[in-house]
């Protein structure tokens, strides 16, 4: 049954296209993804990070630098990261299910893990920010016009500070997948956005956590921009029954490793 009043929204979100290319099918996009994966495997240059020039993700076409990054020795401020504390983040901000009067719709879940630097040291007392769609795949964002219900009991934004062993922990609901306009019948796999600071400016990163067993992951050009399959796996959380709690919430474990450091941490930072 069609929804005549929603015809204008059928293909999803009110995001401006940055390309005049016709809408391709998933099969065409998947062919492009496979070709670039084979190229990555052949030239041996595939690293842990996504390719910035990655045509299957159409929005990257005009937004990737064409020149190689300039190699530089970090100096001064780059050897440090901004500092956050109790004044910045209230303990309750890590629970995304208690921000409104009622319980949000969806599968209540806990996601927890450690933030480590490239040497395996915990990143202590540092800010972690998350944001995500609700259980129906809708964001609380004006530009998100996907005709799924907003949940008055779910905003989908949380913050916490890691503890002295680098642990973070959020209580939330499992986000839903959602359609987007990259190509015809394009769907983003369910994901949670993570924003992380290390102990040095160069470790700053924003990434996305995905869920195990999600069939949409293999179709998605955004995670596929990481052409090394082993590196892609690093973005997929584990279901962890030890994190799951009796009659309350399912549990996921996802550790995050930041890039290497250049400065020797001081004793107070936990060398």
């Amino acid at each position: 049954m069609a929804h005549p009043g929603r015809a204008g929204h059928r293909y999803g979100r009110g995001v401006t296209r940055t390309t005049a290319l016709p809408a391709h099918s998933q099969a065409e996009i998947s062919t492009e993804i496979d070709a670039l994966a084979a190229e990555g495997a052949a030239d041996g240059h595939r690293g842990p990070q996504p390719r910035l020039d990655y045509a299957p993700y159409r929005s990257s076409l005009l937004r990737h630098p064409t020149k190689a990054p300039q190699q530089v020795d970090p100096e001064g401020i780059e050897l440090w990261a901004p500092c956050f504390g109790e004044r910045d983040v209230h303990a309750l901000e890590s629970d995304l299910t208690i921000q409104h009067a009622g319980e949000p719709v969806g599968e209540r879940m806990v996601v927890t893990g450690r933030v480590l630097d490239g040497a395996g040291r915990p990143v202590r007392r540092q800010l972690v920010e998350v944001w995500q769609a609700n259980a129906g795949g809708r964001y609380v964002h004006q530009r998100d016009q996907h005709p799924a219900a907003l949940d008055p009991n779910f905003t989908g934004m949380g913050r916490c500070l890691t503890d002295d062993d680098g642990w973070y922990r959020f209580t939330t609901i499992k986000p839903g997948p959602y359609p987007w306009k990259n190509h015809r019948n394009a769907w983003r796999p369910a994901h949670i956005h993570f924003s992380l600071f290390g102990t040095e400016f160069t470790q700053r990163t924003i990434t996305q956590m995905y869920f195990p067993g999600d069939q949409l992951v293999g179709l998605d050009p955004i995670i596929s921009s990481i052409t090394d399959p082993a590196a892609r796996e690093l973005l997929v959380a584990d279901y962890d029954h030890d994190v799951t709690t009796h009659e309350w919430a399912t549990g996921y474990r996802w550790d995050i490793v930041l890039t290497g450091t250049h400065r020797t941490p001081t004793e107070e930072e936990g060398a």
Partner: protein
């Protein structure tokens, strides 16, 4: 299984695009005001983010991180709830519909007698699959030892037209630093050794 890392498994977690829908999550009140706009030593650091077609990027997010006016690295919390008095050295600004961003801050002092002072800049955007790092150097006229702008190791290592992309341009109220993600005048982005 990849969710649990052990000592033998410390490959870095890959980055991913910030996407289009961070607007209700990452910006916060006072995010771009490292100091209050009215303060005597306040300067504006602003510009426009453009793509390879020269079009403004309305869904980018910039962060700056800098030394204080004396060149010292600040180790103070409080950026997310600014009190108007504590300089934390860090700020965030989402671009508006015209691709523009604007910070209020102070001029960073020199952290090293042989290096030109700069503001460290992180760029995120929809369509940008991983963050980009760069530096916004204070222009001639705004620093004591202008010869540093030619002798600074990074600036000296670049062809003049590339080095220019890292120099803010002076304005009466501060300086302007445009970010060009691609194409003519493409900003120099950095990879740290």
């Amino acid at each position: 299984m990849s969710g649990v890392r052990t000592e033998g498994d410390l490959a870095p977690t890959p980055g991913q695009t910030v996407g289009p829908f961070y607007g209700y999550a990452l910006p916060f009140d006072g995010d771009s005001e490292l100091v209050p706009p009215g303060r005597e030593d306040a300067v504006r650091l602003h510009g426009v983010v453009t793509d390879g077609a020269g079009a403004p990027v309305p869904d980018a997010l910039l962060e700056i991180w800098q030394a204080d006016a004396d060149g010292a690295v600040v180790r103070r919390p409080g950026s997310l709830h600014r009190d108007g008095w504590t300089f934390t050295g860090w700020g965030r600004c989402a671009t508006r519909d015209d691709g523009s961003f604007s910070f209020t801050t102070v001029r960073p002092g020199r952290h090293d007698p042989d290096r030109a002072p700069y503001v460290a800049v992180t760029v995120f955007a929809r369509g940008l699959l991983d963050r980009l790092l760069t530096r916004a150097y204070l222009p001639a006229g705004e620093i004591e030892a202008e010869e540093l702008l030619t002798s600074d190791p990074l600036l000296a290592s670049l062809p003049a037209e590339r080095a220019r992309t890292l120099l803010a341009t002076p304005e009466p109220t501060g300086h302007r630093f445009d970010v060009r993600l691609q194409g003519e005048g493409e900003t120099v982005f950095l990879r740290h050794a």
